[in-house]
Amino acid sequence: MKDEKKTSRSPELEGEEKREHGKNRDHGHDREKNREHGRDKSREHGWGRGFGRRHPGEVTGKYQLKDPKNFLEVQNLVVEYSSDKKIVQAVNGISFSLKKGETLGLVGETGAGKTTIAKAIMRILPDPPAKVKDGAVFVGGRDLMQMPEHKMLKIRGAEIAMIFQDPMTALNPLMSVGDQIMEVVQIHNHYTREEALEHTCKMLEMVGIPRSRSVEYPHQFSGGMKQRVVIAMALACNPELLLADEPTTALDVTIQAQVLDMIRDLRDRLNTSMVLITHDLGVVAETCDKVVIVYAGQAMESGARNDIFLNPQHPYTKGLFGSLPKMDDDSKRLSPIKGLPPDPTDLPRGCPFAPRCPKACEACSQDASIPEVEVEPGHFVKCLFAGKEDA
């Protein structure tokens, strides 16, 4: 991790990207034309709107894989939701990377854009209203944003799988859990029905559910059991990349521990890379190799786990740690971060954290984006004060 070279972005480069980004927004018109041309194609893939019709060509192939050793490399990802004339800037140029077998923690408050990032990687964002405006997602060297939909279908569920936040609603209430797991098995493998059924039962047993329950329906399972089913479904085709979107948020604490243990265990056994989305720093400390602190859809700080936990640089990261109770501290009160996350339809200029930042100065709210600074190898901080003085 340490020797990984991520280019530190200079302000000029940022500016250039910004301009490119602006151009991309104008592509909307071209896109409408593309749609007209692509009518026949859309029939081929989907009758419904959005998913089949999406034209990956919208995001130009101007990005290159930076390090061939990276299994997952997300570069300058920009996602917007448009609703009633307002544009929600959910993800604003986030970049991170991950090697085979590593786990990366995406940490941030609710609404920071973490789930959107995961869904953008899988290309399952509902379009409209969501649109990937810019950026590239390299998985195993291929840019998923450039991939045609029919190839994407082969990747979803097989190479990349996702565990969803709320197990209560993530399962189809009208299908037995066995059928739901079997569906993904049959899509991605040339199994006979018996083989697929056997595989399904094995997956259920792996997550600790007796195979006899495969004929039961989601309403017959408890929340923790449902999450196990969701995990079994995600792991059914031995994915190389697992996107776990707050897999334990909807569960109570004891079940949380079990489910996390299970995910870790399965990850180690299958050598899966994992992106763990959470707002629980304790989980991150136990599970992750790398951490990206997300705020208003931007990476405020990223680096190896120990760099972040032992040497947090960004005021936001420090604020997050400040709001945790400490075992060795006698102080009666926690120090929360004051204020609320910014309105994503109207992000502040410059650093999005500036309005809440105790160290903010005028320069922070200037129009120019804040450059990312590499304070130590592999540890990036997006702050004007980074590495300049010790607070």
Binding site: G48, R156, T169, A170
Partner: protein
């Protein structure tokens, strides 16, 4: 499950019995003398009046008449003879019922067959032209009164164009306008309901799960989205069938369509008690049976509903077990 069905059948009998008593009482206490109506237009003596009244059994007290009625209807299954036409009521109903039933069935099939696809396509293309168009038409269709639409149709197709007959049910052509009139509100209702149901499911988490599994879009729509969206809609359509049948009164009278609705209305006018009672009882039974069947189909399709029914039976069972031990 069987326990549930038996329970429902038992309640069905209770309901029908109650409806019988209720309709008898209502007709008994409602002002209006069937004998007078029957004899109107001819001069009659007081003796003759009493004689007729006696022959119809209307000179007895309330409870005696009620007992008589319940005995004849529920024990001997004899629904009596019409006061006016002197034809057994059952015979008259059986002659008319198939027509009303078919009218209702066609209307339901058309309103579901057109309304649901329209709603689904609007839901899948939210804010598209299908959606905008549907919302406007649904509003118009829902607010048009049936009788007004019927009159306008008649004016256009019968009076001006001479394409369709104004009344009767003798030819297939005569059925067209009643069916259209009867189903237009249903089309709008079904379209709006299925649109709402689809919109709810489009964003459902399990649909995203299905996409994340690599299921192709067509299959996501037809295998995951549609069953979840449409089972409640189809359930509602089934339940509206009974309403549709009893709601044909307006249509049948408008188009002089010889069905149950027209029969009921005519019988009401002449206070033809046996005919009214038999019709109401029949429609109530019909509604209850259709409801039961629809519920059972719903349970068969949706495991959650089925679980409720089974749990319902199981709870009873366990309570019985406790009492024994």
């Amino acid at each position: 499950m069987w326990r549930y069905i038996l329970k429902r059948l038992f309640w069905l009998l209770v309901i029908i019995l109650c409806v019988g008593v209720l309709i008898f009482s209502i007709m008994y206490f409602v002002p209006g003398d069937p004998v007078q109506i029957l004899l109107s237009g001819e001069s009659y003596t007081q003796e003759y009046y009493l004689e007729v009244k006696h022959s119809l059994g209307l000179d007895k007290g309330y409870f005696a008449q009620l007992g008589d009625y319940l005995y004849q209807t529920f024990i001997k299954f004899d629904f009596g003879t019409s006061y006016t036409s002197k034809v057994p009521v059952m015979q008259a109903i059986m002659e008319r019922l198939p027509r009303t039933f078919l009218l209702g069935l066609f209307s339901i099939l058309i309103s579901a067959g057109i309304g649901i696809p329209l709603g689904v396509s609007a839901g899948l293309h939210r804010n598209g032209f299908q959606d905008q168009g549907l919302l406007i038409f649904a509003m118009i269709f829902i607010s048009i009164p049936q009788f007004w639409l019927g009159l306008e149709l008649m004016l256009l197709f019968s009076v001006k164009l001479h394409w369709l007959p104004t009344s009767g049910c003798a030819t297939a052509l005569a059925w067209i306008m009643p069916v259209i009139c009867n189903s237009i509100g249903g089309i709008a209702m079904n379209a709006r309901q299925s649109r709402a149901a689809v919109l709810e499911t489009v964003r459902a988490d399990f649909v995203t799960t299905a996409r994340a599994k690599g299921v192709a879009e067509q299959k996501v729509i037809w295998k995951h989205m549609m069953p979840n969206a449409l089972i409640p809609v189809i359930n509602a359509v089934g339940n509206s069938f009974a309403n549709m049948i009893s709601g044909t009164v307006v249509i049948e009278n408008l188009f002089a369509f010889p069905g149950i609705g027209q029969y009921v209305l005519n019988s009401m006018g002449s206070r033809d008690y046996p005919a009214i009672r038999a019709c109401v009882l029949l429609l109530a039974t019909f509604a209850a049976v259709v409801n039961l069947i629809v519920d059972l189909i719903y349970a068969h399709l949706d495991p959650r509903i089925k679980a409720q029914y089974i749990a319902y039976g199981a709870r009873k069972k366990s309570r019985g077990g406790l009492a024994k031990s």
